[in-house]
């Protein structure tokens, strides 16, 4: 665990992830219309935008759960793929995905496994860690997300907030280079949003590289190093949150932020 603080990686500059000209067409509909997007090590990027603007597709293209229609993707400077010409490079897709954590809107824990078993599934079967070692680390992670006493609980017996915290521990267990969050609090009851946002804030302070699709503007403003405003498949504006919140240059950004602020 223990992600390295970004300061100590000044010599390791360069994007963890980089997309150039990303496009995705679903059944004739252009969901993403040419996105250039890079995430630096230790950076927290929050993605804001109205429903249907392509935020989720952007994340799914990033870990290739969805294959892009066009664009090139780089991971730590190495080409992962180029579409449409060459498709995926020779990088091992599973190996690549194992370095990209993902936290889903609806948690997507494995219901037949306990919290601990959910957390250690990847380390044991992908990283090939010894079971005892993986379980010890899994226990430490669950403790870290405040669920030490729920180690052997099944997801169905946990609250939404607890399930999402297990899901975050599951992502952390893979020691990912970056974690993608797809509206991690949108499916939660209001009283559980805080516990998940607090945990994510802690991760951010620990220096975890994060890309967060969210509607929580307050959180985005507090935690993000950079905001991306996505509308209709394009990044219409990006920059430090303070700047974008204080003086958005784009009329659509004002509208999007205004809607979100009222929530």
């Amino acid at each position: 665990m223990a992600p390295v603080p970004p300061e100590s990686n000044a010599d390791d500059a360069g994007a963890v992830l980089e997309f150039r000209g990303l496009q995705k067409i679903y059944a004739g509909h252009r969901v993403l219309r040419g996105i250039d997007f890079a995430v630096q090590r230790g950076e927290r990027v929050c993605v804001l935008g109205p429903s249907g603007s392509g935020k989720t597709t952007l994340l799914r293209c990033t870990n290739l759960l969805t294959e892009p229609t066009a664009g090139s993707l780089f991971f730590k400077g190495t080409s992962v793929g180029q579409w449409p010409a060459r498709g995926r490079s020779h990088v091992n897709l599973r190996e690549y995905r194992s370095h990209i954590g993902m936290v889903f809107q609806h948690f997507e824990l494995f219901p037949h496994l306990t919290a601990l078993e959910n957390v250690v599934l990847g380390p044991i079967h992908v990283r090939k860690l010894a079971s005892e070692h993986a379980k010890e680390r899994g226990y430490q992670l669950l403790k870290r997300v405040g669920l030490a006493e729920k180690v052997h609980a099944y997801p169905a017996t946990l609250s939404g907030g607890q399930q999402q915290r297990v899901a975050i521990a599951r992502a952390l267990a893979m020691d990912p280079a970056v974690i993608l969050f797809d509206e991690p609090t949108s499916a939660l009851d209001p009283e559980m949003v805080a516990e998940v946002l607090d945990l994510m804030t802690t991760l951010a302070l620990d220096g975890m590289t994060m890309v967060i699709v969210t509607h929580e503007t307050g959180f985005a403003r507090r935690v993000a190093d950079r905001l991306l405003i996505v509308d209709d498949g394009l990044i219409i504006e990006q920059g430090p949150p303070a700047l974008i919140f204080e003086s958005p240059t784009h009329q659509r950004t004002k509208e999007i932020l205004a809607v979100r602020m009222r929530d």
């Binding site: 690549y96 993902m102 889903f104 997507e108 494995f110 893979m174």
Partner: protein, 245 residues
């Protein structure tokens, strides 16, 4: 008294029926799992092959399959000491696995596709996702339907009497030849089958309730429980093959 003699003859046959059922059930479960998994394979030819197998063996009447394998394959494999018991096992397994594969396939496909996303995003490959995430979620809800397939195997195994497997129905036929009392003998045979199958029907029903409870859903308790008559209980159970035979 006659009936005790009859029962002792039938019991010997019932042992063979039980062997036939146990061996067939094990092989059917394995083959059906493979066929169901093959049908969700990313490889088109594998999907098609499994699809053809299921369609083929659901279309052939079981008796026709018995005769085909007995007269077609029997003389060849007989030379290697494979007798009609194993021909019956083969025929039953091919046929029943096609039905059970449909049950398993439905269960596999009812696992939300987002579970695939979660598993793949950890870096698991297709075989691991199937083995670690899909099958453990799909198989428990299939237990009640599987018990019903086992009931089907017991009943269908009576056809093995026609290719000279000395299971319980053939034992009854032999008794009839000796006693010339078909009505009474076959009535006793029917009772023997009933005595075996009714408890299994209860087991199917019970497993349905247990599985539903384990999955955290409200089981459909209407008609469940000891106060229900055996016939009513067996009527409630959904037979995946209803309307196909």
């Amino acid at each position: 008294m006659d009936i005790l003699l009859w029962l002792s003859v039938l019991m010997r046959g019932l042992v063979v029926t039980a062997q036939l059922t146990v061996v067939t059930t094990i092989l059917t479960t394995i083959l059906a799992t493979a066929l169901a998994v093959a049908q969700i394979s990313p490889i088109r030819s594998v999907r098609l092959l499994a699809r053809w197998d299921v369609d083929l063996f659901r279309s052939i009447p079981l008796l026709a399959l018995f005769f085909f394998l007995f007269f077609g394959l029997g003389p060849i494999v007989g030379r290697f000491g494979i007798d009609s018991f194993w021909i019956a096992v083969l025929a039953l397994t091919l046929s029943e696995s096609a039905y059970l594969a449909e049950v398993f396939r439905g269960a596999l496909q009812s696992v939300p596709v987002t579970q695939w996303d979660a598993a793949m995003s950890l870096g698991l490959g297709w075989p691991s996702v199937v083995r670690l995430v899909l099958l453990p979620q799909a198989l428990p809800p299939s237990i009640p339907a599987t018990v019903n397939i086992v009931i089907g195997i017991i009943k269908d195994s009576s056809l093995a009497s026609l290719i000279a497997v000395s299971e319980v129905t053939l034992s009854a036929t032999v008794l009839v030849a000796g006693t010339f009392r078909p009505m009474e003998v076959y009535l006793v045979l029917a009772i023997v089958y009933l005595a075996v199958i009714v408890p299994l029907s209860y087991l199917a029903r019970y497993s349905e309730v247990v599985v539903a409870r384990r999955l955290g859903q409200r089981p459909n308790l209407a008609g469940a429980g000891v106060e229900t008559s055996a016939l009513a209980a067996s009527a409630i159970i959904v037979d995946p093959r209803a309307g196909e035979r």
